[in-house]
Symmetry: C2
Subunit: 204 residues, 2 copies
Amino acid sequence: MNDEIPVVFVVDDEKAVRKSLARLIKSVGLNVQTFSSAREFLESDPSDSPSCLVLDVRMPGLSGLDLQNELDNVGYNIPIIFITGYGDIPMSVRTMKRGATDFLIKPVNEQDLLDAIHRAIEKDKQTRRERGEIRAIQQRVDSLTPREREVFSLVVTGMLNKQIAHDLGMSEKTVKVHRSRVMDKMQAGSLAELVKLALKVGIV
Amino acid sequence: MNDEIPVVFVVDDEKAVRKSLARLIKSVGLNVQTFSSAREFLESDPSDSPSCLVLDVRMPGLSGLDLQNELDNVGYNIPIIFITGYGDIPMSVRTMKRGATDFLIKPVNEQDLLDAIHRAIEKDKQTRRERGEIRAIQQRVDSLTPREREVFSLVVTGMLNKQIAHDLGMSEKTVKVHRSRVMDKMQAGSLAELVKLALKVGIV
DNA sequence: ACCTGTATTGCCCTAAGATCCAATTGAACC
DNA sequence: GGTTCAATTGGATCTTAGGGCAATACAGGT
């Protein structure tokens, strides 16, 4: 999934710009998908391969800024490279503070854009790697029963079985059984590993 | 140390700007220290209290951008708010990518600047908290003897005393002694806590 | 009624970790 | 030469953790 060919999404209302950007991006061996509006992009299917978004700031209908907000709201955080012909400093600063990876001005320097794209793709690969790992761990957590989850969260704070048993009002033996299942389901070979897994999914 | 009154450093070559910014910042109860050049700021003592830097981009001698680089190189990462009368988009983007917290244009809107300053101060407080914690943990690690450190790093991977003893060519008994000292010196009440400490200082 | 998953507990036994006491060796330092 | 510290090991004891086997209980679904 991560070794697929990266895709660059281009959203611009001018057909000539789309064509020229697509040609440039294809020339370095990357896949391209173009959209003539933010709406059109929002209605497309999220990509499974590493990707980034090259986005015109000013467009009829939803602007590039609107799209950035919208993607942020739905939690689809793809690296965004803005390109614009009219932007001002406050606009560029706002988008950068919201997490854009770059902000280029038209006419865009080809090498600058390609560099930005490569950085963005790398960044996306990295976040996909991390997310994938978190998801895998979270799935294991989800497979725990309610009781197992309780024991889990207390175990990783360093509490002894005895204390956990007292806290949850059960016998020490029961704690041991749950604890053992937790280690199994979480695929942890040791308490140390279990703690690391817990930290990665925020069960502190 | 963190509950001291925050300090805002102002670096601008124009005296009038310094005076006006200082007056504004003082008016909301913050301390101010002004500098007429980047050099002057670099030669001052780093602050112990939460602080941020309000920095003019264009100045004779070292520019604001140069100062940002220099501070980055020496690892003094104070939140920086740029202000400028002449800046362009690429410049603002470059500084933001390098970690500036804001980039405002002259004449600066007073409320915008104060908002930016408060955000920057909060950010600095946060990084100071985190750094302080890391430093405290690192000091404990530094108090470990070489052998204890070795045992430490193996313990937090989840290895058993027996395995550690074999790996390091010592008896299991010796491992236990080192391990016990590690728990003591690291002030960890349990293996779970020890693992958390190890992760915070990057001993994975 | 029957089966499954979850939760619970008891007893027993082994392995592992924690603690306390005690001792030896070598290197560094005064 | 004496002191201090790091590293090492042994023994004895106690506490924890983990696993096996067996059993009870309850809820939901077929």
